[in-house]
């Protein structure tokens, strides 16, 4: 099992980087995601127009050099709007990932490690998972009122059980491993066993799953805004752009094509990343999601 050559053992960081980007899926995913993230972060500087700048003279113009993605019914520049919309989408998804990961890891580790908590937590997860994700999210948004925070919270609650399931399963496997038993036999305090031995070894499956939740959250956010129950702000989102562009799609198909492609590419980058990471971390996990 001494597979590491001396060269890579000497520079483990470089070696793991090479391993990481030697995987084509990860490389493509990371590059696309980087473009999406940079575009969103630098939106005010790279967008040629303000996202809400009206120009009735220029309404419903097709793609051209002046307006790469064309203009909408109010003459707003689709390219600029799509870039700004990425900010909301990324912000929401990132928030969702944080909330669902924290909740999911807490519930999953608790259910997997402490036998007594397993049955009640698992039943709760079963119940939460029996609500279709969009339906649960829109019900929560309807109850809490549509705002950035509530959308994040609603989707975070919706996706937490998914993560919790995976974490619980991995914890159950881990708990039986001799090195965990050895830690118990050595008299290590439980919190230390959980942190050093359980969580440390869960990091990879959690990372993989969080990437997939990121992708799902992005799709769900787009669906919610498309339905008109998403984040209500003046800022465009890909979903609202599609919803309003719908009416004009016969004459101005670019209104739907570009925001749609923005969603597809962003989600695809995350799927690629998650898939590649999963293959890298543990081929056996491939059947889990």
């Amino acid at each position: 099992m001494t597979t590491l050559t001396t060269a890579s053992a000497a520079r483990p960081f470089a070696a793991s980087l090479r391993r990481l980007f030697g995987n084509r899926a990860i490389l493509f995913g990371a590059v696309i995601l980087l473009v999406v993230v940079l575009a969103a972060l630098l939106a005010p500087w790279i967008a040629p127009y303000a996202p809400n700048k009206l120009s009735i003279v220029n309404k419903l113009k097709g793609p051209s050099l002046g307006h790469l993605f064309g203009t909408d019914e109010f003459g707003r520049d689709i390219f600029s709007r799509a870039i700004f919309a990425g900010r909301i989408s990324l912000l929401v998804s990132l928030g969702v990932v944080c909330i669902s990961t924290v909740l999911g890891v807490l519930l999953g580790v608790a259910a997997g490690f402490f036998r007594r908590l397993d049955a009640p937590i698992s039943r709760l997860l079963d119940a939460m998972m029996s609500f279709p994700d969009i339906l649960l999210a829109i019900a929560l948004v309807a109850a809490l009122g549509p705002s950035l925070a509530t959308v994040i919270l609603a989707l975070g609650i919706t996706y937490a059980p998914r993560l919790a399931r995976i974490v619980r399963g991995s914890t159950l496997v881990l708990r039986e491993l001799p090195y965990i038993e050895a830690a118990v036999a050595m008299g290590l305090p439980t919190w230390q066993i959980l942190l050093r031995h359980v969580l440390l070894n869960l990091a990879s499956p959690i990372l993989v799953q969080a990437t997939f939740v990121f992708a799902s959250a992005m799709l769900a956010e787009a669906s919610l805004s498309f339905l008109g129950v998403g984040v209500s702000t003046d800022m465009p989102t890909w979903g609202t752009m599609l919803a309003s562009g719908r009416e004009y799609m016969n004459n101005a198909p670019w209104l739907m094509v570009f925001p749609g492609l923005a969603i597809v590419f962003s989600v695809l980058s995350l799927q690629l990343l998650g898939d590649g990471l999963r293959d890298l971390v543990d081929p056996r996990l491939a059947k889990e999601s």
């Binding site: 039943r123 279709p132 969009i134 339906l135 597809v264 056996r284």
Partner: protein
């Protein structure tokens, strides 16, 4: 048979517990609304008297625990409350919208499974070939497409462009089933294709997993041909996790149906829910959520029972 009966009883108990939690969660969700739901529902130009009347009508004046008990008792009688806006019982509203949703879900799962199973199996068997790489790439892309966007594209190309299918609606109330079916083709494709991507990937992974198992080697050592090894020995074992994912994907289809129905203007439960959310029609939201979750729990129960047939080891 005793084995099956025992498993059935055991699972039945578990299912009832889950259902009880579902009911409670639904009750809580609708009541976490900040402020007064009655005021929210009626909007800004309602008089205090209107609001008070609505509160009484919805039973909001009673303490929470009483509301909960009344809610559960109502459920046991099959009463999901009254929709203020539709002016009809929620059960009736749901029942009248059930047909399009049912057929949409049914057809899209049929489309998804009939694409996913053969393609996933073949892709696993031909692992690493050009075919496999194309499948892996396509499913990855398809899983990244929002179904509503695919729906919009389909409408644009096949309905508006080619005129092969109606762009929207479910036909009139008096149309034949064939006409309605025609209306369902595009939405079922939009929903089915996206989900088939997920099931294909899963089928491929499950098959790859099983193909590495020892008993597959035993079958080959016995002299079984590849066809027999794959279709008999591997597939039956791979079906065990695949059944689970098909069960799970039904929930995703229902979630997708909410959006797809809106895109295609299908008068289904999804459409009802979206308009209920926009109108803050809480009893309808509550009822729909409950019914959909309960159906899902029942489907999962059925999936568990299927296990007993496929996997002789299952016994609880």
């Amino acid at each position: 048979m005793a084995r099956i009966a025992r498993t059935l009883l055991n699972r039945l108990g578990g299912m009832l517990v889950v259902l009880a939690i579902v009911v409670t969660v639904v009750f809580v969700i609708v009541r976490v609304t900040p402020g007064d739901p009655a005021a929210v529902m009626l909007g800004s130009d309602a008089t205090p008297q209107d609001i008070a009347d609505l509160r009484t009508k919805m039973g909001l004046d009673a303490p929470l625990i009483v509301q909960y008990v009344q809610f559960v008792l109502g459920l046991l009688r099959g009463d999901l409350g009254q929709s203020i806006f539709l002016n009809q019982p929620v059960t009736q509203a749901l029942a009248s919208r059930a047909e399009p949703t049912f057929f949409l879900t049914l057809f899209s799962i049929l489309i998804a499974v009939s694409i996913a199973l053969p393609v996933g199996v073949l892709s696993a068997v031909r692992r690493g070939t050009l075919f496999d790489q194309i499948v892996v790439t396509l499913t990855m892309v398809a899983a990244s497409v929002p179904s509503f966007w695919l729906g919009l594209l389909l409408i644009q190309v096949l309905a508006v462009g080619q005129g092969w299918f109606p762009a929207s609606g479910y036909g009139g109330p008096d149309t034949t089933f064939l006409v309605r079916l025609h209306h369902l083709v595009l939405p079922a494709i939009a929903l089915g294709v996206v989900n088939s991507a997920l099931i294909t990937r899963f089928t491929r992974a499950a098959m790859l997993d099983v193909l590495g198992d020892d008993y597959v080697r035993t079958a080959r050592a016995k002299g079984a041909g590849e066809g027999r090894v794959i279709l008999k020995h591997a597939l039956k074992n791979a079906m065990i996790p695949i059944i689970t994912v098909i069960g799970l994907s039904i929930a995703m289809l229902v979630a997708g149906a909410v959006v797809t129905e809106t895109v295609f203007g299908l008068p289904g439960i999804g459409n009802l829910v979206v308009s209920a959310v926009l109108r803050r029609d809480y009893p309808v939201i509550q009822g729909a959520l409950l019914v959909v979750a309960a159906i899902y729990v029942l489907i999962n129960f059925a999936v568990d029972m299927l296990y007993v047939l496929v996997d002789p080891r299952v016994r609880l």
